[in-house]
Symmetry: C2
C-alpha cells in the first residue's frame, strides 16, 4: 500500500493503475464502517484508493474542525488490512482564495443542510475535487450519512462524472449504535444514552411493520423517545426517500432520520422504510439498508 | 468526422480515442473565431472534439435564447474543414429538475456577471458537464470572452479537473470588429456603428503606449467615444487582469473591456494592456492577446 500526500504523486500513482479503481473518501478517524467500504471496494475493483482529509470547508465556524480526531497511524493500518492500494493524505487542498463552490440545491436544503449552513456545499466541492484527482470507476459512501450519499449521487449524475456512486449499509456496534468517528467524544454515560437513537429507529420499524403509515404519529413517537434521553433533538423526521420531500402518509419508500446532541456531540442515524406493494413492486423496490 | 448527439455514443467515441484530446465547447453559429480554436486544437492534439449546444441555463429570462442563431449544417462543415474528429450535438443536457450548480464567486461578480445574473453559473455548470463527458486533455476558449475564459480557468484549477485550459487570441473582421455569433443580428447601420468598439480599444492602446496610466481618464475616453455611436454602454472599464479587481493606476497587466448595446444586440470586446517593467519583467509578463 502506497501513501502519497501531494497531487502530483497522486496523479502519477493513479496513472499507473490498470483496470477499475474504487475510491473511499474519508476524514480519517476510521472505524469498522469505513473498513466495510474499503473491503467492498477491494472486492469490486482492481485497485482501491482511500483519501484521508479533514475538510475545513464542511465545518461551520462553531463546529468541531480543530478538535476532530486525527488518528493517521491507526487509519493507515486499517486501510492496509481492508485492502487499500493507495492512500491520499493531503495537508491542504484549496487555493488561499478558493472561490469555486458546488451547490446541490434541493437535496441540501432540509435536515442537516438546514442546521449546518454551508456544510453540504463544502462536501460537494471537496468530493468533486477528489473525483477529478482520483478519477475512480466507483465511489463508496455509507448509508449512515444518507443525505450526503444522496447529495453526491445527485451531483455525480447531474455533472456527468464518469463513475458510479455506491451507497453501503450502515455498520453498527454490537449494541446497535451506528459507527461514527464522533462516537469517541462520548463519555461512558453519554455512550449509554446514545443507544436511544438506534432503539428509536427500531421502534419506528416495528410500528411501520405493524401497519402504521401516519408520519405525524411516527415522528411523535421518535421525538418523545429521544427527548427522554438526549440533550437536544436536532431533528427526528420521516421524509420521502427519493427526494427528501415532506409527506403525511407513507406510500412509497421513506427515510426515518434522526440528528441529536448527546452532551456536546452531534450524532445522526437513519433507516429506510419500504412499503410492500405486491410481489412485483416489492422485488423492484428500493433496497432497504440494514 | 463523426457526429453524435447522445451521451452513450459520445462516451463510446471518446473511449476509442488514443493519445491527447482537444476540446472546443461552442453554442454553434460558428465563425472564423471558432475555426481558429478548432484548428489550434487539431494542431496541438491527436483528436479534437467540438460540442454544439445552445445552453439554456446561461441565458437570462429577457435574453436571446429562443432566437439565438442555429446553423447546424454550416457549423458541421466548418468543424470538418477546421479538423474536428468528433462533434457532439446534444438536444438536451439537463435533468428536468436539475439542481447542481457551480459558482466561481469572485471572477463572476463584476462586469458581465453583474449585468447578467446567473449567466456565469450556467456557463460553469455546463462546461463542467462537458469536461466530464468529453474528458479532454486541453480545452480552448477565446479571449473575446475574457471573463468567461478566466472563470473556466479558475474552475478547472480549483476543482482539479485533469486538463489544461488554453485561451486563444480574439479573431477580428478585416475592419476590426471582433467575431461574434451575435454580429449577424446587426443591421447594416448597426454593423457600421459597432466599429466604434474596436476603434475605442485601439485608442486606449495608443494612449496607454504613450504613457497614460490613469484608469479614470482612460475610462472617460472609452465612455465618450462609445456613447457617441452605440445605443447603450453597458460597461467600459479597466480592471486588473489577474483577478478583475478595480484599480486607479495601471501598474500591472489590465483588461480594458467593453460591453455595449448596438440596437438590441449586446456586443463585448477587450484588450490586455501590459506595462513594460524592464527586460526581465517584460519577458516573464502575461502574454498580450492580439
Amino acid at each position: 500500500m502506497k501513501v502519497v500526500s501531494d497531487k502530483v504523486s497522486l496523479r502519477k500513482a493513479r496513472a499507473s493503475f490498470k483496470g477499475t479503481v474504487g475510491f473511499v473518501p474519508t476524514m480519517g478517524a476510521l472505524h469498522a464502517g469505513h473498513a466495510s467500504l474499503v473491503e467492498r471496494s477491494a472486492r469490486d475493483n482492481d485497485r482501491t484508493v482511500v483519501s484521508i482529509f479533514v475538510n475545513p470547508t464542511q465545518f461551520g465556524p462553531k463546529e468541531d474542525f480543530s478538535k476532530y480526531p486525527r488518528t493517521l497511524e491507526a487509519d493507515l493500518a486499517l486501510c492496509r488490512k481492508a485492502g487499500a492500494d493507495l492512500v491520499y493524505t493531503p495537508a491542504t487542498l484549496y487555493d488561499k482564495d478558493h472561490q469555486t463552490w458546488i451547490d446541490v440545491e434541493n437535496v441540501a436544503a432540509p435536515l442537516c443542510g438546514e442546521r449546518r449552513p454551508g456544510h453540504f456545499r463544502g462536501v460537494a466541492t471537496v468530493v468533486a475535487k477528489f473525483f477529478n484527482l482520483v478519477q475512480p470507476t466507483r465511489v463508496y459512501f455509507g448509508q449512515k450519512d444518507a443525505q450526503q450519499a444522496m447529495l453526491l449521487t445527485t451531483m455525480a449524475r447531474e455533472l456527468d462524472f464518469p463513475l458510479e456512486v455506491i451507497t453501503c449499509p450502515t455498520v453498527r456496534e454490537a449494541d446497535g449504535l451506528a459507527m461514527s468517528s464522533r462516537n469517541r467524544y462520548l463519555s461512558p454515560d453519554e455512550r449509554k444514552r446514545a443507544l436511544v437513537i438506534s432503539r428509536t429507529l427500531h421502534a419506528v420499524q416495528t410500528l411501520f411493520d405493524k401497519g402504521e403509515r401516519d408520519v405525524d404519529k411516527l415522528e411523535s413517537v421518535m421525538e418523545s423517545a429521544l427527548g427522554a434521553e438526549v440533550d437536544r433533538v436536532d431533528y427526528a423526521e420521516i421524509r420521502r426517500w427519493r427526494d427528501l420531500g415532506e409527506i403525511k402518509m407513507i406510500e412509497e419508500p421513506v427515510l426515518a432520520t434522526i440528528a441529536v446532541f448527546v452532551g456536546n456531540t452531534r450524532l445522526i442515524d437513519n433507516i429506510v422504510l419500504t412499503p410492500k406493494r405486491g410481489k412485483l413492486a416489492s422485488r423492484q423496490g428500493a433496497k432497504r439498508p440494514a
